[in-house]
Structures are given as structure tokens and as C-alpha cells.
Amino acid sequence: MATQASQTASRLMLSPAVLLLFLWMIVPLGMTIYFSFLRFNLLMPGTEAFTGFENYVYFFTDPAFWPALANTLTLVLGVLFITVIGGVALAVLLDQPMWGQGIVRVLVIAPFFVMPSVSALVWKNMLMNPVNGLFAAFARGLGLEPFDFFADAPLASIIVIVAWQWLPFATLILLTAMQSLDREQMEAAEMDGAGPFWRFLHLTVPHLTRATTVVVLIQTIFLLSVFAEILVTTNGGPGTASTTLTFLVYMQSMLQFDVGLGSAGGIVAVILANIVAIFLMRMIGKNLEA
């Protein structure tokens, strides 16, 4: 790609793909913005009219809005916390030479391949169910009252389920990073008198910062849009205890058939996600350079 001609050719050949990607993004976004300024209810066809910012006013003044925002942040931060700490711990363990390493690694990665709705159903019916669940059986075995997870701690339960799904991803990325740590550095630190804990703190942890940045960035993007796990388990309840922004948008556009309000919510979610992204890039993006 050095000469003028080859640069022009490369631009020409790239342009269809770039154009397609651009349309792919801009058409839905444009339509959503357009809908968000309409009074558009599926139950009253033919009454669409331009209403300005009315939908946004309704969305922000919805009593479920602030709890949903808080729930979204709690979910994202909670899952990030569990997966990063747990991922580092698992990566350290899996990095040790042991018998059956290949099989163990496949087992660890397995949850990532299970569909979100399926894993949520398994957790709901087989593990956390207060009557038939495994945890309830354990509790009864110990003579305790079974804990009704989705009634008493709905958001925490969803955080656990989502964290379980994302832990393999974090483990995998951190494990590959761990394996690229220079062995001579470890040996040098050993000769310098650093025990296992200090070696971990002074060599492994700094070495993993870049991989952790990647994990946090990618997971945040996906966690902001967690939906299936909530729909399958708590349906956003009890009350608004496990309603996130994504779920609130769904409720308004799909359950109340108010496309205009749902679109406004969608645009608010997009703006919030971008604010989060900017903060993330500012805070940890510099780790990705050089």
C-alpha cells in the first residue's frame, strides 16, 4: 500500500464494505430518533403525530427511570467486579501445570457457550428455585429455611447468573495474558527474594492491567444490554427491583405498545452508554497505548 495508485485502489475496494456498515448503523439509529419524536402507539394506528420532546419528558419522569438507572449500574459494576477478581483467580489456578489441563480448560470455558436464556432457566428452575432447587435442598439438608432468591434478592441473583456467564470470557483473556509473562522476570524476582505473593503483586498484576482493560471495556458494552436473563427470571420485578434501562425500554415499547416512548428510552440508553464509554476510555484507555 505504498504507491498513490494502490492507495486509491484500496480506498475504492474498501468503500462498499464501509458504506454497508455505515448504513447498517445509521438507518436503525435514524429511525429510532425519528420515532422518539412521534406519538406512536401500536394500539392506536393512524394517530402518529410529531410531539417534540414529550416522549423524553415522559421517560425521565417515569417512576421506574431512576431505579432502572441505578439497577443498570449495579448490575454492570457487580458483574465486572466478580468476573475480574474471579477471572484473575481462575487464571492463576489454570496457569499451574496439572493433570488433565486441556479438559479442565474446556470445562471452564463451557458456560460461555450456553445461551443466556437457557442458562437463566437452568439457574432459575434447577438451582435457585425455593422448592425444587439444588440450593434449597442444601439449605433444607442443613436444617435451614430455603432462601427465595428471586423474591428476596432479585438483582443480586441476576448479577450472579450474568457473572457466571461472563467469568469464562474474563478467565480466558487473563489466562492468555498470564501465559505471555516472561519466565525470566519471575525467576529474577525469585532470586531478588520476592515470595509468591509479592511476585503476584509486583509482576503478575501490572502485567495483567492491559488484559483487564480489554475485559472491562468489552464486558461493559455487553452488560449494558443484558436482557434475556431478566426476562426469563424476574421479569423486572418484584416491582422495579430488577428493572434495568434495557428492560424498561422493552416494557414500554413491547408491553405498553408505545413505540415513541420506547424509542426515546432507547436513545437515552445510547447516550448513557456513550457517556460510560467516554469515561472508561479516559480512565483506562491509556493502558491500551504502547
Binding site: E184, E187, M191, L203, P206
Partner: protein, 333 residues
């Protein structure tokens, strides 16, 4: 302090025996160089002394104490690695201070020692940089700095110069020699480069296939190699080996003569044709095809006006012939 004694040290990985019984004494304050071809076990032997590998059998004692089962940190040795193994996210200052910090030394004393080490190694202007911002030679000096602040009873160097370019290698070689002279601490140095071994060592240990071939001072090894391997390994260019009828005249299986011990003489006993002439200015190396003997490398001093195809007469210098029996062992006299 700083005497290292190995006795009957063996090491095998899986079923493969890498070190096959080494007995060696490195005296206090000595500069010992382990030299040998790649895969001869010299780095493994160094790692055994460092404690980074466990011995399969045998004992290692340092300063008269058995250190065979001691962890690396408690052997009082410092090591400089081939890749330097600097901590990439710490500044040079923190890198050098790391062993002191791990030893729990007070802050001000740490700072004093780091400053002193930096001064010795000309690193003072770079103390606040990261290793990634330094050149190869500077990184090497940081690695050495990290070793000297610990005031170890011996330094271990694992091919420290092999990642540097030729010019820098020569100057770092001299720096390490000077460091040894000023610190007077035992140093054990591993290299595959016989020039490094010859220039730096008090004592050279030539290793081959997990065994010691010969131990001695550089000139001892040069003057009286114990066997064909040492004779061929020490000295550059390689010693010429002549077998067959010519060797039989001297009553042995093989004779060896170094390129610098062959003189150009029109009436010499060997006549040959120049196959290749390398003119270096200070020296000229000739590959001469001699009838009935084979190719010989000859070093002629200065500029010699010989080129491809010229016919020359050669004569070995009297008393500079090495004689070897069928097993490759040197024959005296």
C-alpha cells in the same frame, strides 16, 4: 566468602540426563566462565547453582554451607539474565531497589545504595525512566545494578551479552571485567563465545554434553588442551587437525596445529594451493588445500599479497604441534 563447590552434581529432565556428574570448585573472588556449544548444559548448571532448578543428585555448597536445598533467595547469589528480566512497569530506580525493598531495608538506605550503584554504572541520568525507554546496553547495566546492590557473595551471568551488537559487546565485556576487578566478588559467567571466555576468565570450564572437558586458565587451555574437543573449541580460527600418514610420522593418530602456528615458507614441508584468502588488514586468513593432508587454515600476519590459486609452501612452527591419540586425548611431549 563466595566459594562455590559442586560435587557429583547431576540433573536430568524426564529421562534425559543433561548434567552428568560435575565436580568443580570456584574459588572466592574468581571469575569463572562456563563455555561450550549450545545444549552442552552450561546454562542448566548455572541455574542449578542459582537454585532455579533442583539437582537430581549431588551437593552444591556456597561459602562452606550446603545450599543444595536452599531456595534461590537464601543462597546470597545475584543473577543477570540473558533477556535482562527487568520489571517493565517499574522505573530504573525501582528496578534496582526491588531486591532491597524485598529484604525490608529502610527507604533512605535503599535510596543511598541505588544512587551509589547508579553512579558506578553511569545510570544516574536514567533513574526515572522505564526499561522500555533504554537501549540494550543500558538495560544490561540496570540488570547488573540490580545485582550489585544486593552485595551478593557471587554473581551469576547467563549469556548477558548475546543480545547486544558486536561493538557494544566488546565495551560491556570490558565493563564487566572492570567491575570484577573493583568488587573482587566471585563471578560465574556462561557464554557460548570463546572470545568472551578467553578475555574475561580467570578460570575457564569447558563443557560438552553435560560433562566437564577441561578446567584451566585461558592460556593453559590454549597451550595445552586436554583433548580434541577443547583444542577445537578454544582459539579462533579453529585449530587444524591432520590425521593419517602425516600424523603417523609423529607417531600418533591425530596432530593439531593452530592457524597462527603455521608460517609461510617457500621451502616448507607442505605445499598447497590457496583456496580462499580473507584480507582483514591486520591479518590474512588463508584456506590452503595441501596435497595428501587436506585443507588447512593459515593465519598470516599483516597484508599478504596472496590470492586464489596461488601456490604456497607451509611449515608448522617447531614445538607448537599438538598430538592426540585415537580416543582424542592429548599425548604429552
Amino acid at each position: 566468602m563466595g566459594e562455590i563447590v559442586l560435587s557429583e552434581v547431576k540433573k536430568s529432565f524426564g529421562g534425559v540426563s543433561i548434567i552428568q556428574g560435575i565436580d568443580l570448585t570456584i574459588d572466592d573472588g574468581e571469575f569463572a566462565v562456563f563455555v561450550g556449544p549450545s545444549g552442552c548444559g552450561k546454562s542448566t548448571l548455572l541455574r542449578l547453582i542459582a537454585g532455579l532448578e533442583d539437582t537430581s543428585s549431588g551437593t552444591i555448597s556456597i561459602d562452606g554451607h550446603d545450599a543444595t536445598r536452599l531456595p534461590p533467595a537464601r543462597r546470597g547469589l545475584a543473577m543477570v539474565f540473558q533477556s535482562y528480566a527487568l520489571y517493565p512497569h517499574m522505573s530504573v530506580r525501582k528496578n534496582i531497589a526491588f531486591p532491597l525493598r524485598m529484604a525490608g531495608m529502610p527507604q533512605d538506605e535503599q535510596a543511598r545504595k541505588v544512587e551509589a550503584a547508579a553512579k558506578v554504572l553511569n545510570l544516574t541520568p536514567y533513574l526515572d525512566r522505564r526499561p522500555g525507554q533504554l537501549s540494550g546496553g543500558q538495560r544490561q547495566r540496570v540488570a547488573i545494578g540490580r545485582a550489585i546492590v544486593r552485595e551478593p557473595s557471587a554473581f551469576l551471568f547467563d549469556e548477558p551479552l548475546s543480545n547486544l551488537d558486536a561493538a557494544l559487546r566488546v565495551s560491556m565485556r570490558q565493563e564487566i571485567s572492570e567491575l570484577h576487578r573493583s568488587l573482587k566478588t566471585t563471578m560465574v559467567y556462561v557464554t557460548h563465545d570463546q572470545v568472551e571466555a578467553m578475555t574475561m576468565a580467570d578460570k575457564i570450564v569447558v563443557l560438552n554434553a553435560g560433562r566437564i572437558e577441561q578446567v584451566g586458565s585461558p592460556l593453559e587451555l590454549y597451550k595445552s588442551p586436554a583433548n580434541l574437543f577443547v583444542a577445537g573449541f578454544i582459539g579462533s580460527p579453529k585449530m587444524n587437525f591432520i590425521a593419517g600418514a602425516e600424523a603417523a610420522k609423529h607417531g600418533v593418530h591425530t596432530i593439531g596445529v593452530r592457524p597462527e602456528h603455521i608460517v609461510l615458507a617457500a621451502d616448507g614441508p607442505w605445499k598447497g594451493v590457496v583456496g580462499l584468502a580473507e584480507h582483514l588488514g591486520s591479518d590474512t586468513f588463508l584456506k590452503v588445500q595441501v596435497d595428501g593432508i587436506g585443507p588447512l587454515t593459515v593465519r598470516a600476519g599483516g597484508e599478504v599479497g596472496l590470492n586464489y590459486g596461488d601456490t604456497v609452501g607451509l611449515a608448522p612452527q617447531a614445538g607448537k604441534l599438538h598430538r592426540f591419540d585415537e580416543g582424542g586425548r592429548a599425548v604429552a611431549g
